[in-house]
């Protein structure tokens, strides 16, 4: 069975500092990997996705993520965080043909002035 681990429940970053959110997955084949963001009271917005090919993927809002098969990781990064990035971030894995998503428990990002 597939699973996703986000080891950090909360992270606080100063505005303008760099950010890295960790995600580890467990899946038998090549996974489809996603990062979503959820602002308070909102649904989920897709930041970026990895299906195949280049292991460094670019997303919206200046985010990027790198797929590392050897480490079963798909960490999310941003070089300079803005106060508006404060939200909860979810990593998810999807399986070919079944289309359902398995989510990590999320990382809450707090941005300090």
């Amino acid at each position: 069975a597939q699973s996703v681990t986000q080891p950090d429940i909360h992270i606080t970053v100063s505005e303008g500092a760099s950010l890295e959110l960790r995600c580890n997955y467990s899946y038998g084949a090549t996974p489809y990997l996603f990062w979503y963001v959820q602002s308070p009271g909102q649904g989920l917005q897709l930041l970026l996705k990895y299906f195949s090919g280049d292991t460094l993927v670019q997303g919206i809002k200046g985010f990027e993520a790198e797929f590392k098969r050897s480490q079963s990781s798909f960490n999310l990064r941003k070089p300079s965080v803005h106060w508006s990035d404060a939200a909860e971030y979810f990593c998810a894995v999807g399986s070919r043909g079944y289309s359902t998503l398995t989510f990590g428990k999320g990382t809450m990002l707090l941005v300090s002035p």
């Binding site: 909102q42 649904g43 989920l44 897709l46 998810a92 999807g94 043909g97 289309s99």
Partner: protein, 116 residues
């Protein structure tokens, strides 16, 4: 283009009652997914409907059920409500099921169910 819509926004029920949540997918999407986001438990997959059929079900009791209508909208029913059913219920839609690839899911804003 309109996104995924859900109604109601908020729903308050008491233990033992039934709740009905509704979802309208993006036009052209035939798959609808339901997820539960409960405090401390994260997002958990509930149900997946495609072309009117239930395709997959998460690890939830049978009192969680649903259906998909001919216009591809969907309804989630929760019977015999329990306090722990209090959660945000998210609906997502995607293009038709594909065997050898993955269709992106687009999420609605959710329905906040509170069970008293």
């Amino acid at each position: 283009e309109a996104g995924v819509t859900q109604s109601p926004t908020h729903l308050i029920k008491t233990r033992g009652q039934q709740a009905t949540l509704r979802c309208s997918p993006i036009s052209g999407h035939t798959s609808v997914y339901w997820y539960q986001q409960a405090l401390g438990l994260g997002l958990q997959f509930l149900l997946w409907y495609d072309e009117g059929e239930e395709r997959n079900r998460g690890n939830f009791p049978p009192r969680f059920s649903g259906r998909q209508f001919p216009n591809y909208s969907s309804e989630l029913n929760v019977n015999a409500l329990e306090l722990e059913d209090s959660a945000l219920y998210l609906c997502a839609s995607s293009l038709a099921r594909a065997v050898d690839t993955y269709n992106e899911q687009f999420f609605g804003p959710g329905t906040r169910l509170t069970v008293l």
